[in-house]
Amino acid sequence: MVKKHRSTEDVTLNVTAMLDMAFQLLAFFILTFRPPPGEAQIYLKLPPPQPVAGMTGTQKAGADETKDPKDVKTTKSLTINLDDRNTGAISSVQIGIPSVSMKPVPYNDLEKELRGYFKAKEDNDSSGQKGNSLGDYEQVVINASPTLRWDQVMNVMELCTKFTTTANGKIPSVSLSAAGPDPGN
């Protein structure tokens, strides 16, 4: 019988074509690679503002806001008015309930003022939940001049979320409204 001889030479696969394709793929992924931008966010429930911002129900203007237990259940909005006199930056701040009284506050004291509005409720909170709460107010309405710059509004929004964020992860409720028509189109 004739013995079959197998070739002792190495059989090598030509990988050049595959390497070319791999480099093309690599070039595509490198060119389309965009590192994600470093961004954070304020997470909010933004319901449309009530037609009449302020108290509803039977509460009368000037009545004691803390003593009547019925009033806690009614919708109450704390309003922050921001005016810019068409400069884009905050020039005056008012805080309060529009149907009762609006109190002018220096912008630098806004945080202190907001803390004062919400502190009474925090002290009396018997539910045992930690963290700040909206107090008697169900929402904060930011009523800003339409020409105010967005970063200025965001600074006020940040202050509001400090007092409306709860420890149980409830999303704070803030409403936005514009004081007057938008000058652009």
């Binding site: 090598t12 990988v15 050049t16 595959m18 390497l19 791999a22 480099f23 793929l25 690599l26 992924f29 490198i30 389309t32 690679f33 965009r34 994600p36 931008p37 470093g38 961004e39 954070a40 966010q41 304020i42 997470y43 909010l44 429930k45 933004l46 319901p47 449309p48 068409n86 400069t87 884009g88 800003a144 001049s145 339409p146 020409t147 105010l148 710059r149 967005w150 970063d151 200025q152 509004v153 965001m154 600074n155 929004m157 940040e158 979320t161 400090k162 992860g169 999303i171 936005l176 409204s177 514009a178 028509p181 938008d182 000058p183 652009g184 189109n185």
Partner: protein, 214 residues
């Protein structure tokens, strides 16, 4: 004399297997980190920077996000160009902003002070490089309201309630509206977009901010 070198007839091929291995590893890396969602972000916007902003809470992978890039646009000042232009920062090598230019959809650049957006300029949404204004600008450029309505209709496809039920019963769409507004944008423009979203049934919003440098 013989001109042939002994062994010269054999081809000298480098072993490409290690380089191929390395290239495949690189491809795997870039495939894993590629993020097609970044395409819907308008990276020319300068987001406001505040201290206490946090990432979205909990598991965000199942959240449906509607990303809206809010900006102010104006007609391109370049002679004969009827496109809309937005403000872009001019950045030097150290990534410091030197000034601002209006850049239109056709690429014309005109230097412009940043404050133009306060008292004039039109509210616009930047959607994959297209600028949507308050009014319909022709084919493929619906108005902001039409665009938001179509997005809301897409969300309603997966819901058990109809648009009429949603409005009647005060239900809300589950999507989170991500507002990426330029810090120089006027409040009236952002408020217009937020109001139009609320009209379509969106209630949950994430207002984007830049990260504070530490």
């Amino acid at each position: 004399m013989s001109g042939s070198v002994p062994g010269g007839s054999q081809s000298a091929e480098p072993n490409l297997t290690p380089i191929l291995d390395m290239v495949f590893q690189l491809i795997t890396f870039f495939m894993l980190v590629i993020n097609f969602k970044a395409a819907e972000l308008d990276l020319s916007l300068q987001l406001p920077v505040i201290g206490s902003a946090k990432p979205l809470p909990g598991d965000t992978t199942n959240m449906k996000l509607l990303v809206l890039n809010v900006n102010i646009c104006t007609k391109c000042p370049h002679a004969g160009c009827d496109a809309m232009a937005t403000l872009r920062p001019n950045v030097d090598e150290d990534k410091k902003v030197k000034g601002y230019s209006l850049v239109c959809e056709h690429g014309h650049e005109t230097p412009e002070p940043r404050d133009f957006a306060i008292n004039n300029g039109r509210t616009c949404l930047s959607v994959y490089g297209r600028l949507l204004c308050k009014e319909n600008r022709g084919k493929d450029l619906p108005s902001i309201e039409e665009y938001l309505r179509s997005e809301a209709d897409m969300s309603l496809l997966g819901e058990k309630f109809t648009r009429e039920e949603m409005i009647r019963e005060g239900k809300e769409l589950p999507d989170v509206v991500v507002i990426r507004a330029d810090s120089g944008c006027r409040f009236g423009a952002v408020n217009y977009v937020v109001t139009k979203c609320q009209e379509q049934g969106y209630r949950t919003f994430a207002l984007k901010t830049g990260m504070v440098a530490k």
